[in-house]
Symmetry: C2
Subunit: 331 residues, 2 copies
Amino acid sequence: MKTVTLAHGNGGAENQELISKVFYKAFKNDILTKSEDAAVIEDGNLAFTTDSFTVSPLFFNGADIGKLSICGTCNDLAMMGAKPKYLTCSVIIEEGFDFKSLEKIVNSMKKELEINGACVVSGDTKVVPKGSVDKIFINTTGIGEIQQKGISSNGITEDDVIIVSRDVGAHGATIFAAREGMQLSSNLKSDCASLYVQIKALIEAGVKITALRDATRGGVSAVLNEWANQSDVCIEVQESKIPVSDEVNGVCELLGFESLSLANEGTFVMALNKNEANKAIEVLKQFDNSKNATIIADVTKQYPKRVVLNSEWGTKRFLELPTGELLPRIC
Amino acid sequence: MKTVTLAHGNGGAENQELISKVFYKAFKNDILTKSEDAAVIEDGNLAFTTDSFTVSPLFFNGADIGKLSICGTCNDLAMMGAKPKYLTCSVIIEEGFDFKSLEKIVNSMKKELEINGACVVSGDTKVVPKGSVDKIFINTTGIGEIQQKGISSNGITEDDVIIVSRDVGAHGATIFAAREGMQLSSNLKSDCASLYVQIKALIEAGVKITALRDATRGGVSAVLNEWANQSDVCIEVQESKIPVSDEVNGVCELLGFESLSLANEGTFVMALNKNEANKAIEVLKQFDNSKNATIIADVTKQYPKRVVLNSEWGTKRFLELPTGELLPRIC
């Protein structure tokens, strides 16, 4: 009997297979088929997106499941050029979970909602017997008001370049280190952050964005592969341009992972016309969270639907969509 | 250390305490404070609501978690006089869950979406290691277009009467029987059903509705107590008028529960002006699912914020908001 494996939740190839063969197949409609970070509804005026958070441990360097649950959904709205507005919050709590931790989590949510200028308008609370859930899972679903229309993963062309907003892989590396009880430098902390403030600044500066995505499960690799596939282009990454911290590099060596495949929770990838790139980087450099924003890739027709990684020694290899179990419960 | 107990998820008194002391306190805003089945947003044009489904067993007489997950959220929209339009679907699956069951669940969702004329436009799929979740939990969050404005639990007056749409307690009794492996009459099955079709007919017939609520966790008792409290009125129920099937009565005797406190998933309670009641019942009688709709209560000023149960022998007692563990994982 075929069963669901951890790999089916990896944000990579098997995850896409599960989604397309089971969910898209049944729910098929034009909006879903676009595979954007959020659905665009109501004549292009509103964005609508959902995420469930199962991260373990609940508290980690740089954030907790509460902050993550607001950042995750608000960022998916921001990635469609939308201002986060209304959220729902649905929690499933294991019997015996302590009130203090719950209050800490909910206060993190509150703080992050304020940063986004959004509010929770509807909720649901379930408590289940011991063993039915591991401590607490949170779903947030959000509606945002689209400020710049037309942002889409389906319209990237050779006129575009690809920018990454900061050093990659910090969230994935932090969760891994926390789980393994590794004593690493305190500089290693999750990048978890709300991104609307940066997107707002880009839009207000008149930057025309082609595509935007926060590089969560599956990391930058998953985003670039999905974009290459959806827009039928080749994305050529300059390996030496990818910002990676020493701490993340260290964890990657232990894991045997690519930093580009590690999850982020406050790092985005942006495609935009070459002529807009410098203006965008100027804007992003004003923010602490994106002061190292940089161009990492060009768009070509060389190998359509593929991502190529060019090393500084002139060699080339394909960067594949991540496969395998990666890190379950990363978000 | 204070911890969360199963009673905090009962849909009754402890559940309200958890919600108000933790969630409402942190997220406080005008929309949330109204405590309606769905938030009313965008100048009263849209309704927005969320629900997570953790029911056990996943398949039971009359429905499964898939059907339940669509009915639950679409019904919360319908209870605000809204036509269900866009849904998100977020699933958390335990590693090792079989594909056949998943497909069966997703197909139930598809079928029920069609009944509502709604579609899933965004989703999320997480797979977690064995023991982190019991089989599968589903969150659905929905947006509906409000067809009749002003339906609210806060505006019930002495001019209103209370209608229940069908016999009560079928869902709760069915889940209980399934868990205990009780061999009961095959007539006992969950009432799980989409209610928008009936609400649409009421609105099209020009019935002006004061308040509407599907009587899920905590049953009709919870709805009436919340309404009495929110509208500052006394609701006087005629016990003999409450429709209850023999099968549900049988289970209630075993459980020591009131049928009025058992969960329903396709049964609603409606408050409306006395003068509108006959027209409403005429409309409801056209549907198999509400052919026994009937007036069960009057609204008075006798004991404000309380619900009174009048027996057929002339005795009176208060019907309290349900307390205690009730049945965890009922929905």
